[in-house]
Symmetry: C2
Subunit: 152 residues, 2 copies
DNA sequence: ACCTTTTTGGCATAATATGCCGAAATCCTA
DNA sequence: TAGGATTTCGGCATATTATGCCAAAAAGGT
């Protein structure tokens, strides 16, 4: 992972579907070595994959919520059960383990407030072992970028 | 935005760089109308862009933090100033406005704990008008997907 | 300075995207 | 439900792009 690899990543974070020729030009390489670097970044896991940034409202998911979850107990079985079940829920876009007061932070997308109530009651609570849930709804996004800061 | 458009979005969320021919096959269309739908989704804003999912650790950003920010006052000038300044900070990958106890939730990536301290002291605090900052570091990610749940 | 290893650039071929056309399907109205 | 208008589709020709291979240049070590 040298300076050129980071340039390639940043260029693709700005436009993940740009052609290899444009990518090569933007990092001052000819197409051949540029494509080889890209494939190496994929093979090494530095590039996990490519995605599309779709407007959730246009898609039909107008509600985004951040959900802070605390477990009742932290024995292995409770933790394992929670993580395994949460991974299977399509509404959960992310689930992170956090330092501080809460154990997990989830980002959840749903079609409406009624769908959110259904999600909490019939998807989350049945998992069991949950101590507390604290929901914050997103009512505006000031910034959203996938471009990492420059290094070196 | 019909069923096929949502299929296209979900397919591209799984692999944003798949060829139009593979995409067409996965949604049971021939390449021509599939590409036309894709271009329409881009033009309408339903598709905002394409990105690469890069491993921040491999890139050189091992620390990810969620930062909850409350402002001292909520007059227009304080809010405008905060949002304008935060948008310019490369370490800030996301900034959302939230219901509940905190005004803003930021996702921040940095090269280390010292870089985080520098970020808070020399980038965030100088903005002014900030009431409180509550940082939670990510020490594990249970799930991270860009694929929306199926609708219809 | 020499040799080894790695990375690069160019080229030929295969795969893909793009734009345009007529045909099929869908939708609206009577 | 029949008719006509509108939308969406599939196929084809052309232009653009990706891929794999080889020799040359650059980088690194002794």
């Amino acid at each position: 992972m040298d300076r050129k690899d980071r340039q390639i990543i940043r260029a693709l974070q700005r436009n993940g579907r740009m052609t290899n020729q444009d990518l090569a030009e933007s990092v001052n390489l000819s197409p051949s070595p540029c494509l080889r670097r890209l494939r190496n970044l994929e093979a090494s896991g530095a590039i996990r994959g490519f995605t599309v940034d779709a407007d959730p409202v246009a898609y039909g998911l107008p509600i985004t919520a951040f959900v802070q979850v605390r477990l009742e107990r932290h024995n292995e079985e409770t933790v394992r059960q929670f993580e395994q079940r949460v991974t299977c829920l399509d509404e959960v876009q992310e689930c992170h383990m956090l330092t501080g007061g809460t154990d997990y932070l989830l980002r959840v997308v749903v079609a409406g407030l009624d769908a959110y109530e259904d999600f909490i009651r019939n998807r989350i609570h049945p998992i069991g072992g949950i101590g507390s849930i604290d929901t914050s709804f997103v009512y505006g996004t000031v910034k959203k970028t996938g471009v990492y800061p420059m290094i070196g």
